[in-house]
């Protein structure tokens, strides 16, 4: 088990524009670390730099405390699982699994043993003589995993390994991969664009946007304390509701004249700010609550929960998420209330304003 560190890493393909901008992070041994961000944010590039498939333009990559910038991929002692699995179509499952082992000077017996071990672990024992094309998507995925496992490399890199699977299988493989990583105790670096995958799998994760790290931390910390509006809207589904507002004493003034009165937690300035609220913190108001009336635009009943889209202002729609099934229809006007500790405040430029850190995360987590 080895630590992986990136120190002020930059990547540029043309020598001018940086695809990766000043990235520094330290990934602990045995950690499940997820790189998450929209497509084109540079997450795969980072993974490929760690693998050695891309050069590092400047900065240092350390594995186990040793600079490895110039080591070829094969000498970095890691394994990698590709998005399309990269299985050799003309080799059997067994040959695929053991293909990379010859270089490591491992005896035929040991190869066989490891292969069986991995196959057992992943339920592939019956398919060892099959060719990849005879396997289902999930099985191919497992072969790719097995190929990573047999190397006994302490570090495993995965590049969107689940994106070619259907939703059901994805959920299953998610927990399988997580269990596997725990069982083997390897360090995992996992790239995905799917924030649900990131949230459910990661010990810690890094959110990337346009080649820059936005935030690094444990999933819930990031969910509860997003450091900027990008993170706030990227993590969580439906995303956090955001709207521009002005602060006037204890009033929040939204663009089209709607105002909300808050008792605490207002940022001191009177400048333009951005207000954010998670959908689950918008409730139907009881008569005693401070409330505002909003017109319902759309209702999605999902069985366990109901998503209510309402007009915050004329051209700004917010979503509320209520557990259970609600009999509400578009066009109705409903009284709503927001627990004011749930408000997050961001600077116009997107950075979160520091003072608003109520400690609701511990108590109210219906998202757990």
């Amino acid at each position: 088990m080895e630590q992986i560190e990136l120190v002020h890493v930059y990547k540029s393909y043309n020598g001018k524009d940086n695809v990766i901008h000043d990235l520094s992070v330290s990934i602990e041994p045995g950690e499940f670390f997820v790189l998450v961000g929209p497509s084109g944010c540079g997450k795969s590039t980072i993974l490929r730099m760690i693998a050695g498939l891309e050069t590092i333009t400047s900065g240092t990559l350390l594995i186990g405390g040793i600079e490895v910038n110039e080591l070829p991929p094969s000498e970095r002692n890691l394994s990698m699982v590709f998005q399309n699995y990269a299985l050799y179509p003309h080799l059997t499952v067994e040959q695929n699994i053991t293909f990379g082992l010859y270089k490591k000077k491992i005896s035929k017996q040991e190869q066989k043993k490891r292969c069986l071990e991995a196959a057992e672990m992943l339920g592939l024992t019956d398919f060892l003589k099959h060719k990849p094309r005879q396997l289902s998507g999930g099985q191919r995925q497992r072969v790719a995993l097995a190929r990573a496992i047999v190397t006994h490399a302490p570090i495993c890199l995965m590049d969107e390994p689940l994106s070619n699977l259907d939703a059901k299988l994805r959920a299953k493989m998610r927990s399988e991969i997580r269990q596997l990583q725990r069982r083997l105790g390897i360090t995992m670096i996992y790239v995905t664009h799917d924030q649900v995958e990131a949230m459910t799998m990661a010990d810690r994760m890094m959110i990337l946007h346009e080649g820059r790290a936005q935030q690094i931390g444990a999933p819930l910390d990031i969910y509860n304390h997003p450091s900027n509006t990008f993170v706030a809207s990227f993590i969580g589904s439906p995303p956090m509701n955001l709207a521009k507002a002005k602060v006037l004493e204890s009033l929040l003034l939204f663009d089209n004249g709607r105002a909300m009165r808050l008792h605490h937690h207002l940022p001191p300035s009177t400048q333009q700010i951005i207000v954010g609220v998670r959908p689950e913190h918008i409730r139907l108001a009881k008569p005693s609550d401070d409330h505002f009336i909003a017109k319902v635009v759309n209702v999605e009943v999902l069985g366990t929960e109901t998503l209510v889209t309402f007009e915050l202002t004329k051209n700004e729609h917010w979503i509320a998420r209520w557990s259970g099934q609600w009999n509400i229809h578009a066009g109705e006007k409903v009284p709503l209330t927001i627990d004011e500790t749930a408000f997050l405040f961001f600077h116009e430029n997107g950075q979160r304003l520091d003072h608003s850190i109520p400690s609701y995360a511990a108590g109210k987590g219906e998202h757990q």
């Binding site: 120190v7 520094s24 330290s26 590092i56 400047s58 240092t60 350390l62 910038n69 110039e70 070829p72």
Partner: protein, 308 residues
């Protein structure tokens, strides 16, 4: 975010350069056989041909005296060479359009979904497996004025004694006909491939729109086939400039130089008359002719071509 460690953050350039050098060397090793062979048997002889074309040579092909563009000037005034150019151009005009059009018709028919169509495809492509020598020998016999099948059939219509290969007016056409036949297999195979590459849903949507066969041919098939047609025309043109075997067997350039196409003329000058300088000059002209054809094709052909 702070850097967890302060480490010197410049990549070690020498290591990287060393690796790049390695990759380059490895690449060169893989390419070396091709490069050496291309150099010895293509680039060097091409330059040598150009070089020789400026010299008078002895019978072993050694340059004896620099004569500048004399070889070329002489050629352009030489009646025989002009005749050879004329024969070549005529030959190209006779063979290329006919080959492409005929092969296109065959390919269109063979692209229909019918039972046993595979057999017909095999038939139509069969001339590709025929060597020039074998084909020429067969055609030589077919053209035989007294016992060949062609004159036998013609005599049924009261036409007798056509001297297919001996009549200067007809010989080039005779050679062209046999050449068209030899070309059809290859041209057909390529065009059929092009037709099969066309997305079948396009035909289906045309069928739903209820357009006629000819309309579909003009508006869907031919435009989509144009890259293939373009390619096949270029290749046929170049091939026909390089014709040799059928001439050597059927007519030996005769009668009265009527079929003395350029490659045959080069061959005769170099290997029968041992006039390497003049032959080289002709080869240079051939090279430029093909170069020009290729460029013209790409310049003008490309505009009319629909690329996917």
């Amino acid at each position: 975010m702070n850097a967890p460690l302060s480490v010197k953050s410049s990549p070690s350039v020498p290591v990287r350069r060393k690796r790049a050098v390695w990759t380059t060397l490895e690449g060169i090793v893989y390419l070396l056989p091709s490069l050496i062979l291309f150099s010895i048997f293509l680039f060097y002889p091409m330059l040598k041909t150009v070089y020789l074309s400026f010299y008078a040579t002895d019978h072993q092909g050694n340059p004896v005296q620099f004569v500048g563009i004399e070889n070329f000037v002489y050629l352009l005034k030489d009646v025989n060479f002009l005749q050879s150019i004329k024969a070549t151009l005529l030959f190209v005009c006779y063979t290329v359009p006919a080959s492409v059009v005929l092969a296109l018709c065959l390919a269109l028919m063979a692209n229909e979904k019918l039972k046993g169509i595979g057999l017909f495809r095999t038939f139509f492509s069969s001339t590709m497996g025929m060597s020039v020598a074998a084909s020429s020998v067969i055609w030589m016999f077919m053209y035989n004025p007294s016992i060949g099948v062609i004159n036998k059939v013609l005599s049924l219509f009261g036409i007798s004694d056509v001297q297919w290969l001996l009549d200067p007016k007809i010989a080039l056409i005779s050679v062209s006909i046999s050449t068209i036949w030899m070309n059809i297999g290859f041209t057909f195979l390529i065009l059929l491939g092009g037709l099969q590459n066309i997305d079948p849903t396009l035909y289906e949507s045309a069928r739903i729109a209820g357009v006629s066969y000819w309309y579909q041919l003009r508006k869907v098939t031919l435009p989509l086939l144009s890259p293939t047609l373009f390619f096949v025309t270029t290749v046929s043109l170049i091939h026909s400039f390089q014709t040799f075997g059928q001439i050597d067997i059927l007519t030996k350039g005769g009668p009265m130089d009527a079929t003395n196409v350029i490659v045959y003329s080069i061959y005769k000058d170099a290997f029968i008359n041992y006039n390497f300088g003049s032959a080289s000059a002709q080869a240079v002209l051939l090279f430029f002719a093909i170069l020009v054809v290729t460029f013209l094709q790409f310049k003008f052909g490309e505009r009319k071509v629909h690329y996917q």
